[in-house]
Amino acid sequence: MKKLIAFILTLAVVASMSVTAFAAQINQDSDPKSSDTVITTSIAPTYTVTIPADTKIDFNAVSQDFGSIKLESARLNPRYAVKVSANAGVLTNEEADLQTIPYELKTGDQVFTSQNYDKAGEETPLTIEIKADDWNKAAAGSYKGTVTFTIEYCEVLG
């Protein structure tokens, strides 16, 4: 019985061990006298993205600079990019939740939703736009809203 257990344990040890690879030896008897050595390495992707800072919008401003999204530094895999998406909503009156001011996040004339960046230095300037009619209807008070930026490292298809 002991022998059987010792045998099973020995098999388990052998199964779990790895085979050590030794450098290929080439000598005068080797044919051919060359051998390939495959060198592999892996560099982890790194990137730094800056997003706009907190901003206070001037009263009655229909368009105001909101800073920019910028890929400050990047070491990405080929066919990969950093995707930054943003969701804008409404500014909510801090005293009355039902009172809101809708706004849009824009880059140029286009509404900004998301953008892929694959080179360091790429930048997207943003503006916040509030329609004059929405200003005119807004009740008095302090309003606040949050723009959430989601950053993903993703493979670029195609």
């Binding site: 052998v14 061990m17 790895s18 206070k56 009263f59 706004y103």
Partner: protein, 196 residues
């Protein structure tokens, strides 16, 4: 002896074994950040008042600039000076004169700094007020040592109206009838005296 040999054999096996090392998995999980956007909507707005020959006040305060509550109805008291009347009222160039009644301008929905312009005109002169005006002028003249009697060439002066000019025909007919009666009575009286 066998045990020792087995232990040594196992140790030899272990020395040849390598510990597997796996590469770290690249996490592609999304991260997020946020920015706070805020603004302040004022509770009141200044209204710049441009007015001549009148005064504009709100809740007892007056001046060239009045603070008006945002998006609320409010009433401005507009009091023209003596001898003047409000002709037109403009709010940011828009005519709001129709909202002016009995010295009060009622407006609502102001959502920004605004300009209020009140245009006045001389009030039409009524006869009573003209008489009062002349009385005032006479008073001021007497204070200055002059009087109307000394004035000459004042074509605007009118003599006080006297007499009764109504029913002229009636009074004429009555006079004729009276004279006729007197004449008849006189003739009759003279006839009686002659007969006696």
């Amino acid at each position: 002896m066998k045990r020792i040999a087995t232990a040594l054999l196992l140790i030899c096996l272990l020395s040849f074994s390598a510990v597997p090392c796996f590469a770290a998995e690249l996490s592609e999980a999304a991260t997020s950040g946020s920015s706070v956007v805020s603004t302040e909507v004022p509770y009141s707005h200044p209204i710049s008042v441009k007015v001549d020959n009148a005064s504009v006040s709100f809740n007892g305060s007056s001046g060239d600039s009045l603070n008006i509550p945002r998006l609320e109805e409010f009433k401005l008291q507009i009091k023209p000076n003596d001898g003047y009347m409000v002709k037109q009222i403009l709010l940011n160039g828009e005519d709001v004169t129709e909202n002016y009644k009995d010295g009060v301008l009622t407006l609502s929905g102001v959502y920004e700094a605004s300009d209020l312009t009140v245009i006045t005109d001389k009030a039409p002169v009524t006869p009573a007020s003209e008489t009062d005006k002349k009385t005032d002028e006479n008073k001021s003249d007497s204070k200055n040592g002059t009087s109307n009697s000394n004035k000459t060439g004042d074509t605007n002066m009118k003599s006080p109206q006297t007499g009764e000019y109504t029913n002229f025909a009636f009074w004429t007919a009555l006079m004729i009838a009276s004279l006729s009666t007197v004449f008849i009575i006189g003739v009759k009286t003279k006839g009686r005296k002659t007969e006696e």
